[in-house]
């Protein structure tokens, strides 16, 4: 496993510069490895069925989610956008097993309903805040999950050390979080998530704190990694470009109470290079989504705090 990962990172590092992605040999068999979604009924890796979440009691109740239905197939990359406060992080908390859905709905994992924290430890979850521990160095923050899993410290550190260059953190392994920039902290948090190897990865705005250049690089890097390992990814973002560029599907949520407004399947060929974002297809999808997202954003402002 470890050597496979290392190999993957090595070849990623090679392909990281702007070079035309079509030249990469490894990524060719996309069509064979990804079954066409409609062709066979695949059991979803994770499925939300009528998921509700209400906070507080009746008069001052906040309805965060109101009947979300969403199924995510194994190996899929799904991006989630929606106005601030529409319940995206709340949804993630439930998929990570940190919170239960209200009794009228369920989250299924590999077809089985999961309740009472059964999902804890099964999903690799990156929260919105970096939540680095001030008393741990970069490398020890990154290996936190491995340590909890019981991986011997030396081995965990070796695995993390091999990943440092790909996260732009080489030479910083013994720094403490207060010595890092916001973007670097975010990358340490991302690395911590990656080292917790699970089929399903939940990323809550992982690139939110990065500058545009680093962000574009990290997006391509993430896609590369994903194409090699086909971990299933659910990815929250506020950036429509990012959502389209990364996703097999873009899920747009309504203003609170959060529901699913539209699901847009993105047929842009993979592997996707930086130039995709200027293609007419991309622009057309963006135009469509932008209209929908804007409508919801305005709604979330005008309804203010009302549920």
């Amino acid at each position: 496993m470890m050597t496979a990962l290392k190999g993957a990172f090595r070849s990623m590092a090679d392909s990281a510069p702007e070079g035309a992605p079509a030249e990469r040999p490894a990524a060719a068999p996309t069509a064979e490895t990804t079954p066409e979604p409609a062709s066979a009924p695949v059991t979803p890796l994770v499925e939300m069925v009528n998921v509700w979440k209400r906070f507080g009691e009746a008069p001052r109740q906040t309805v965060a989610l109101a009947g979300v239905d969403l199924a995510i197939r194994p190996g899929e990359f799904v991006t989630l956008i929606g106005p601030s406060g529409c319940g995206k992080s709340t949804l993630f908390n439930m998929i990570a097993g940190l919170a239960d859905t209200d009794a009228d709905g369920a989250v299924l994992f590999k077809g089985r309903p999961q309740r009472d924290g059964e999902l804890l430890g099964k999903v690799s979850f990156m929260p919105q805040k970096d939540l680095l521990f001030a008393w741990r160095t970069v490398i020890d923050n990154a290996t936190l999950a491995l340590e909890i899993e019981g991986v011997p410290r030396a081995q965990a550190r070796a695995r993390a050390a091999a990943m440092l260059p790909d996260f732009g953190l080489a030479g910083f392994e013994t720094h403490y979080p207060h010595q890092l920039s916001g973007g670097m902290r975010q990358r340490v948090a991302l690395m911590r998530t990656f080292l917790f190897e699970r089929e399903l990865m939940l990323l809550d705005e992982p690139f939110g704190a990065l500058d545009a250049l680093t962000r574009a690089m990290m997006q391509r890097w993430l896609l590369d990694l994903w194409e090699k390992h086909r971990r299933t990814v659910l990815f929250i973002t506020h950036d429509i470009d990012e959502a389209i560029f990364l996703g097999d599907r873009v899920v747009v949520m309504t203003a609170r109470p959060g529901r699913i407004k539209t699901v847009e399947t993105i047929d842009l060929p993979r592997p996707r290079g930086a130039e995709v974002v200027t293609s007419p297809e991309f622009i057309e999808i963006k135009r469509r989504l932008l209209a929908i997202v804007e409508e919801e954003s305005i709604k979330s402002f005008s309804t203010g705090g009302a549920p």
């Binding site: 940190l98 804890l120 430890g121 939540l131 001030a134 936190l144 909890i148």
Partner: protein, 252 residues
């Protein structure tokens, strides 16, 4: 190495100079105003008495510091353990914490007569009192520190599959270290006070007892010498603690 030495010197020199100036001013003032010894002896007379009585004073301060240190260690461990138990069992905390806060507001010296009745005039009563004083300070600060991590951080640990103990060990305890250090500092100060006061009220030995007897014999120079010596002793303990602090909060 040399850099650290000069740095230390730079820190110590002004303090030493200030102290010297104060002693000189004191000595000069006493001499000029012709202050009687029973009101305020000069510092050099006190220092002389300390040297003359080095043997018995040294033995006494050794006992006192030993008791204070033993009480400090026992009280810290006790306070920390109870804090951990209370944080791991929230219902227990809800029930007991108000009681702890209430008891903490009673000065520990109020328990001196009880301690003397229960544990006798020997060192046991002093150590028990010091432990009591220290444990409250450490307990309250530790609880505050252990509960400092935000829910999101706890959730992150849970999502990695960590249990209560894992969260305690990898998140709560390290996060609590700065608070615990504060508790230790407060506790150490309380510990020496408790021991000396208890010794004054009933003991076979110790600096508190020396002060008590010298006062009874109207030997003001010995009283002052003992007070000087116990101050120096507490300072030494405090210095020791500062050394440990850096290890407990290693990441700053």
């Amino acid at each position: 190495m040399a850099g650290r030495l000069t740095e230390t010197l730079h820190r110590i020199l002004p303090v030493a100079a200030g102290l010297a100036a104060l002693l000189l001013l004191w000595e000069g003032g006493v001499w000029l105003l012709d202050v009687p010894v029973y009101v305020l002896p000069g510092p050099f007379a006190i220092l002389g008495t300390m040297v003359d009585n080095a043997g018995p004073l040294g033995a006494a301060v050794q006992i006192t510091l030993g008791e204070a240190l033993a009480g400090f260690v026992i009280g810290s461990l006790l306070g920390l353990s109870i804090a951990i138990v209370l944080v791991l069992a929230p219902p227990l905390e809800t029930a007991l914490l108000p009681l702890v806060v209430m008891l903490n507001s009673v000065p520990s010296v109020a328990f001196v007569p009880l301690a003397l009745i229960w544990f006798g005039l020997g060192i046991a009563s002093k150590i028990a009192l010091a432990s009591l004083a220290v444990s409250f300070a450490v307990l309250l600060n530790a609880i505050q520190g252990l509960k400092r991590p935000e829910q999101e951080a706890v959730d992150l640990m849970r999502s990695f599959g960590a249990g209560r103990l894992g969260i305690l060990w990898r998140l709560r305890l390290p996060a609590a270290m700065p608070s615990i250090v504060t508790g230790l500092r407060v506790g150490l100060a309380r510990s020496t006070i408790a021991v000396i006061v208890a010794e004054m009220m009933g003991a076979y030995a110790g600096i508190g007892q020396v002060i008590y007897q010298a006062t009874a014999q109207i030997d003001y120079l010995v009283v002052w010498a003992a007070v000087f010596l116990s101050s120096l002793g507490s300072l030494a303990l405090y210095g020791l603690l500062t050394l440990i602090d850096g290890r407990l909060v290693w990441w700053r």
